[in-house]
Structure formats: structure tokens, C-alpha cells
């Protein structure tokens, strides 16, 4: 089994460019300073872990902890911990899962809903200022392309995970090819 797969073909310069830009902005935007600035603007005192989780909950609630962990790409124990904090601070509540008594679904409170709205608003407002020179058409094009890129990344990532799962599971059907 070849561990370090050999180069398989050239990479387009555009993609290489995107890769650099994305890693750069990714690192910068996850620094503590940046986070503090955002929390200051939003008037919300939450740490980074809590914000990431709260965003995910807001996207589709009520959700089970396991589902949240999966979507965020973190371990379930981390979700447990962070949910407990958010519960103490009054940003989320738990409601029993009608289908499975092992689980409890996580739901935003009014405070949590308000917090996430402020955070998103503050973040978007900062971007708006940074991109003040852009025409509405340019912004629209970027939004469309970027959104599509993220969707494709997520789909590809899911695809990879499924493949990896198959490798470890006993194959039910005989493997064909490859």
C-alpha cells in the first residue's frame, strides 16, 4: 500500500493561487486578536469555540450533539464541553430527543439567537467596509463563486470520508476494479 502517493498531475496556477489566499486568510482570521475585535464590535463575550458551535447550531436547530460534532469536524466530547458552557451562559437549552432517549437536542435561546445575529452582523459589516470599493456586481460574482467553492469542498470532503469508511468496514459487495 503506497503511503505517500506520488504526484499525479499538474495543478493549475489559479488553484495554486486560491490555495495560498485561502490558507493566509484562514490563519489570520482565526487569531485571538481578530476574535476579540469582533466580539467587541458585536458586544458579545464568547470565546472562539463557543462562537463556532453557536453558528452551527443556528444553521439548523435543534440538533443532536453528535451531528454538531460531525458538521464541525470535531470530536463529540468537545461539543459536550462547549454546550455545557453555552448552557451556563444562557445561550442554548437542551430539549429531549423524541426519537432517541440517549440524546438531547440543542436549541438556541433568545439570548443565543441575538448573540449570533450580532456576531454575523458585525463580521459582515467589517467585510463590507473592507470591500467598500467593490461594485454590487463584483460582490455578487464573488459570493456566487465562493459559495459554490465551499459547497464543493464540503461535498468532496464527505466523499473522501465515505471512501475511508469503506476501507475499514468489511466490504459487503466484492470490490471491483482499483
Amino acid at each position: 500500500m503506497p503511503t505517500s502517493s506520488p504526484p499525479a498531475g499538474p495543478v493549475s496556477p489559479e488553484v495554486a493561487d486560491i490555495e495560498r489566499a485561502l490558507t493566509r486568510i484562514t490563519y489570520l482570521s482565526t487569531r485571538a486578536r481578530q476574535h476579540e475585535r469582533l466580539m467587541g464590535l458585536a458586544g458579545v463575550p464568547l470565546d472562539r469555540a463557543a462562537v463556532a458551535l453557536l453558528r452551527q447550531i443556528a444553521d439548523c436547530e435543534p440538533q443532536r450533539p453528535g451531528e454538531l460534532a460531525h458538521r464541525l469536524g470535531v470530536e463529540p466530547s468537545h461539543v459536550t464541553r462547549t454546550v455545557q458552557q453555552l448552557q451556563k451562559s444562557g445561550h442554548v437549552t437542551r430539549v429531549p430527543d423524541p426519537d432517541d432517549r440517549r440524546a438531547q437536542r440543542i436549541q438556541l435561546t433568545e439570548l443565543g439567537r441575538d448573540a449570533i445575529a450580532r456576531i454575523r452582523e458585525a463580521g459582515a459589516r467589517g467585510m463590507q467596509l473592507a470591500l467598500a470599493d467593490w461594485s454590487p456586481e463584483e460582490l455578487g460574482r464573488l459570493a456566487t463563486l465562493f459559495h459554490r467553492m465551499v459547497d464543493d469542498f464540503l461535498a468532496y470532503s464527505k466523499h473522501i470520508d465515505d471512501d475511508r469508511e469503506q476501507e475499514h468496514e468489511p466490504t459487503e459487495a466484492p470490490p471491483r476494479g482499483h
Copy 2:
């Protein structure tokens, strides 16, 4: 001095959309699992902190530790620590700064140069696969817009920092306009 600044105007839906997509991909791409996968593909055993620093060094070498810290948005002590690791592992060396004997500039070794090339290649290759359906024109448009977005973010961020500095420093010249 108003601490929680009141809403100052509407945010365009496009920008709000970009903000969501960016934070999502940002969080996911900085998870440990994702990093391990990348290192596996690249055949390079480096932790996240080391990779971030190595990328920055590769962008413009040789650089002083303070400059690296500034560009990465981290504290100088973190750079010190990470450079020491990279030096032990043979990815960077230090050369005396001719202009300032307090500092030593950081430079990639052959191993370091190779490592960063592999990492970038592996990252870009993964993206290429995820975006396999895109036409070259679409990729080009995204690359252009995205690159410009990142540049504008950096410029805006610098602008903010400068303003903050001025607030704390005694003004030397009388402030004119704004």
C-alpha cells in the same frame, strides 16, 4: 466613548453570504483531522503552527522574527518557539542580520523549501479534485476575485491597526481631516 457601536447601516446579502461561507470553511480547514490528512498527502510531518510559519517564511525570506510575528498576527514569543522547533527539525536556519545585531533573519533550508512545496502542492491538488467540475474560466474568475478580497482584507486590517496606534500615541502633527 461609545463601546458597543450602534448599527450603522444595512449589510448587503452578498457580503453576509460571503461572511458565512468564509467562517465555515475557515473553521473546517483548521481542524486537526484536515491537517493530518494534508500532511499525509504531502509526506511532511509538521504541526499546524510550524506549517503556518513556514509558509510565511517562504513568502519572503530571509525575515526577522518580529516581522514574521507581525505578518502572522501572533506574538513574537510564539515565533521564537516555533522557529526553534523548525531549526531542530532542519527546516530553517538563522543568519545574522547585517543591519541589527539584536536580530537574526530566518531562512529556509533545502528541506524546508521542499516541505513547503509539497504541502502547497498537496493542498492545491486536493482543491483541484474538489473543483474538478469547474471550467478554467470559472476558476480564473474565482482566483482573481478571491485574491483581491484577501488583499482588501489585509489592507483594511492594516488601516484599522494604524488608527488604533494613533489613538494611543501622542499626536506629533495636528490631525487634519481624517
